[in-house]
Amino acid sequence: MISIQTEDFDSGAEYEALRASGAGTGAIATFTGLVRDSGDMQGVSGLFLEHYPGMTEQVIAGLVEEASRRWDVRKARVIHRVGKLLLQEQIVFVGVCSAHRGDAFAACEFIMDALKASAPFWKKELSDTGEHWVEQKASDVARGKVWGK
């Protein structure tokens, strides 16, 4: 299930929902991204996140499908927030259930890396002295490519 939303989310409740995926689940890997205080600018107070409604959901659904072809994925959950987010707020959640530990880790990291490299979200950093659009990092493009096809 994929949600793009302005509201915050409850990672603990999301984990419990993943855990309720049946007795064949032996492994749950989760990732949460938070707004942190050392972006491209000094004194960042928060972010503004814009996305391309419709395309975002399609791109992420495609990534979850690809992960499910490559690894044992019993259930996957992706939440990405948009709009204004303050320092330390949650931005993104990716959770994957699998029978096996290696598959849960790989699918979770793949979805997160590929989302970062290809889902149509854009971040603007907000600070006391102004705001600016974050530039894409070469390292994120590289991490997206590492997974190959």
């Binding site: 391309y52 395309m55 490299a117 979200f121 854009w122 974050v134 894409q136």
Partner: protein
């Protein structure tokens, strides 16, 4: 008869710098996404950056595309900076 058109959308820094969120353009025969960028860049001012400026990503009907991808009447064509989510 209504003239065939296509929709062009802009996001993030491009949307702000062009002061434009969405445009309707006449659809031409044998046109690519790259041709559209050329037409828009020729408007000058901030539009000039669409050719030879910072990288511009292209989506056609909400799927990633390339400058050489053909566009046709009814398409939704989007131009935006490299993505920075997550």
């Amino acid at each position: 008869m209504t003239e065939p058109t296509l929709t062009v959308r802009f996001f993030a820094r491009l949307r702000e710098e062009l002061g434009t969120e969405q445009l309707t353009l006449p659809a031409q025969a044998n046109q690519t996404a790259g041709d559209l960028l050329g037409v828009l860049a020729s408007r000058g001012g901030p539009w000039a950056q669409l050719q030879g400026g910072q990288p511009v990503m292209i989506a056609i009907n909400q799927a990633m595309a390339k400058p050489a991808t053909p566009v046709q009447a009814g398409d939704e064509v989007a131009f935006f900076p490299p993505v920075t989510g997550g």
